[in-house]
């Protein structure tokens, strides 16, 4: 019997405004629909029920310590790239209750695990780097000897509508990390934007069911090819950008110049771990404010702290988990003192974990090349520059 919905791997075309029916279909299926919204001069993820609320006609300019929203002469729907939020905000939220304890009238304690609300989330506009970052977090929270059931309960029903990037910010280096720009797996649907239409690749059965309910037409081979070409041309342009830095054209594809990023990942684990006492750590430690912004915006950073929140009578106590950062003194605090006392040692911890020891722990890099840590660093510290400095001078 033929499937009642579009099978995984099929490509269809919808008119741009029919994206609304996909949102509607997701809402009807009980999803809380999330998408990019323009808030406080930045593209953030927030509730999105009408496609007209997308930041249509805006793009972002990003550089070290710099983020600006500007108008897009091409009036694209998804011309911007990644903002300060990522999928982490929805599967591993900044604050959540893990456990509740109650002391009864006899003074006896009992506890129950607090699981999050069950309403599943659908996110529209997810980029390849963020899909890969989600896989990195899956490895941490789901695939070790212990499963984080709070993460799991949000992660499993997550519905993801990805977008193939057609444009890279100056801070993007997914091409170096081999995490983009083309969407390759982990999505329910993947959109490629054109002037009047989207090409949609079906990535899951649920995705197929959702698209089947919209006003779709089959893609011609040419349309599929054109969709594949969009991220492919961007990828080529990003690679060309590496060769033509700092300031020349990268063909006809729009790649922000002149500060495009590139990270040479050859032997990077050994490069970092063999240089733990390099003078560069002290130099970057002098610039770093230890503000933790990089760890907050990083889509893979998973550190957290748990605190006790008690009622006035102390009879009801919640254990609340919040994002934590290796840039704080309390992160490595023991009663015998703080292990990492200096900013330089905290930056070294963060970068060596992200790019080197993550491989030991999880068999992959902790960096997906999204560039958020560069953009949102108040002083514009750039990990690609720091790694290049270690590579250039191993004294």
């Amino acid at each position: 019997m033929a499937p009642r919905h579009l099978p995984v791997g099929s490509f269809v075309r919808i008119d741009k405004h029919d994206l609304q029916s996909i949102l509607d279909s997701l809402s009807q299926r009980g999803y809380r629909t999330i998408g990019p919204r323009l808030r406080d001069d930045a593209m953030v993820y927030d509730e999105l029920t009408r496609v007209s609320d997308l930041p249509i006609g805006y793009i972002d300019e990003q550089d070290g310590g710099r983020y600006r929203v500007v108008s897009d002469p091409q009036q694209r729907w998804f011309g911007y790239v990644v903002g300060p939020h990522s999928l982490k905000n929805f599967v591993f939220p900044p604050h959540e209750t893990l456990l509740r304890s109650h002391r009864d009238a006899d003074g006896l304690w009992s506890t129950q695990t607090e699981l999050p609300e069950t309403r599943p989330v659908a996110v529209l506009g997810v980029r390849s780097c963020d899909l890969r970052a989600l896989r990195v977090q899956d490895r941490v929270f789901l695939e070790g000897p212990y499963v984080d059931v709070h993460y799991q309960s949000r992660r499993e029903p997550l519905f993801l509508v990805a977008v193939n990037c057609a444009r890279a910010a100056a801070t993007c280096f997914c091409h170096s990390m081999k995490t983009g720009p083309a969407v390759r797996g982990g999505h329910d649907l993947a959109l490629t934007e054109f002037v009047d239409h989207f090409v949609i690749e079906v990535g899951s059965d649920t995705g197929g069911e959702v698209v089947t309910e919209t006003n779709w037409t089959p893609c011609t081979i040419e349309e599929v090819q054109a969709a594949n070409d969009v991220p492919q041309r961007l990828s080529s342009a990003m690679q060309l950008r590496d060769k033509t830095l700092p300031a020349s054209s990268a063909g006809d594809v729009e790649v922000d110049h002149p500060n495009g990023r590139y990270l040479d990942i050859r032997g990077i684990r050994e490069l970092l771990l063999d240089n733990l006492e390099h003078a560069r750590w002290q130099a970057v430690g002098k610039r770093c404010l230890s503000c933790a912004n990089c760890t907050m915006v990083c889509p893979t950073c998973f550190c957290s702290s748990v605190e006790e929140v008690a009622s006035l009578t102390q009879d009801n106590v919640e254990r609340k988990r919040s994002w934590a950062s290796c840039f704080t003194a309390e992160h490595s605090y023991m009663n015998s003192g703080t292990v990492r006392k200096t900013t330089a040692s905290r930056y070294r911890q963060w970068l060596t974990h992200k790019l080197a020891t993550w491989h030991d722990q999880f068999g992959q890099s902790g960096c997906v090349g999204c560039g958020r840590c560069i953009t949102w660093c108040p002083v514009g510290i750039d990990l690609t520059v720091e790694v290049a400095a270690l590579r250039g001078d191993k004294s």
Binding site: L98, L99, S101, R103, L108, W109, S110, T111, T113, V140, F141, G144, P145, Y146, V147, D148, V149, H150, L273, L276, E277, F302, C303, S304, S305, V306, E307, E308, A310, Q314, V317, R319, A324, C326, H331, S332, Y333, M334, N335, S336, V339, R340, K341, T342, A344, S345, R348, Q349, T352, H353, A356, T357, D360, Q361
Partner: protein, 285 residues
């Protein structure tokens, strides 16, 4: 061990099991041993641990603290933790009474290599509260005394009044463990050795190829124990250290206890020196 066979993946790692304090014994100033008995008879029956493992002890409204298990693994129903008052949780524990409740998650972490220590001479070198996580290993060795060669306990504390479990040393000696004790600061009544723990190595005639070292104590003490062991040509992977870091979740999810490529909570706390060598002497690492 039962604990290893349990399916950790089936339930929330944050699940707390409630226990009551069945005994409290003041050890030395600021240190108390708590015997805990699980309220749930099923947990009480199934709970097992290996020497060197730890539990997360929980007081609602105060928090959790990683505390090593200090009792005999052959008698898991008499689950003991020897706790030094050091922070909020341990201070609040010191104000509890027999019958009060404590939440437990565990056991967690790696164990002393009791199996690979068989047919070896074993040097147990520890300082201060660092004897507590090694006492289960001492119990284990005594239960299986013929499996091990010569066994030395080198133990030191700040003063004679800070030496833990002194009433048990004779029993340990009678069971075939050579106990050498030292203190940093002597007093008028103290007649024993004065000096730091690593110096006690000079009293031993070790056969390096058949010796294993188990050490737990302040990091600086362990570094010098390692120095003495290496000076005696003991292999790097025959030196086992129990590390302390900020273990908060105990299951490798919170990130606080990282030490280089390891999570001390789940990859440790017991490591071979070989595994930690690149990182142990780095300042602020």
């Amino acid at each position: 061990m039962m604990s290893a066979a349990m399916d950790h993946r089936a339930s929330s790692p944050w699940t707390v099991h409630w226990a009551n304090i069945s005994k409290m014994a003041a050890e030395v100033p600021g240190v108390t041993t708590y015997e805990l008995t699980f309220g749930d008879p099923l947990i009480a029956r199934e709970y097992q641990f290996s020497p060197g493992q730890f539990n997360m002890l929980y007081l609602p409204g105060v928090g959790e603290s990683a505390i090593s298990i200090s009792s005999d693994p052959a008698e898991p129903e008499k689950l003991e933790h020897t706790v030094r008052v050091a922070g909020n949780v341990t201070r609040a524990m010191s104000r509890l009474h027999v019958g009060d409740q404590i939440g437990i998650r565990g056991p967690y972490g790696s164990a002393w290599p009791m199996r690979s220590c068989r047919e070896h001479d074993v040097v147990i070198a520890c300082g201060g509260i660092g004897l507590a996580p090694l006492r289960p290993a001492i119990h284990h060795i005594i239960h299986h005394r013929d499996d091990y060669g010569r066994v030395y306990l080198l133990y030191g504390a700040r003063t004679a009044k800070d030496l833990l479990y002194t009433e048990q040393y004779d029993a340990w000696r009678n069971a075939g463990i050579e106990v050498e004790v030292t203190v940093d600061i002597g007093d008028a009544e103290y007649r024993g050795h004065i000096g730091v723990v690593p110096i006690l190595f000079y009293r031993l005639r070790l056969k390096p190829e058949r010796t294993r070292v188990l050490t737990c104590g302040p990091e600086v003490m362990m570094r010098f124990v390692i120095f003495e062991a290496l000076a005696r040509k003991i292999k790097r992977d025959h030196i086992h250290v129990s590390m302390e870091r900020n273990m908060s979740c105990a299951v490798g999810l919170c990130g606080h206890c990282q030490l280089g490529p390891t999570f001390v909570c789940k990859d440790g706390p017991v490591f071979t020196y070989q595994a930690l060598e690149p990182y142990l002497n780095l300042e602020n690492f």
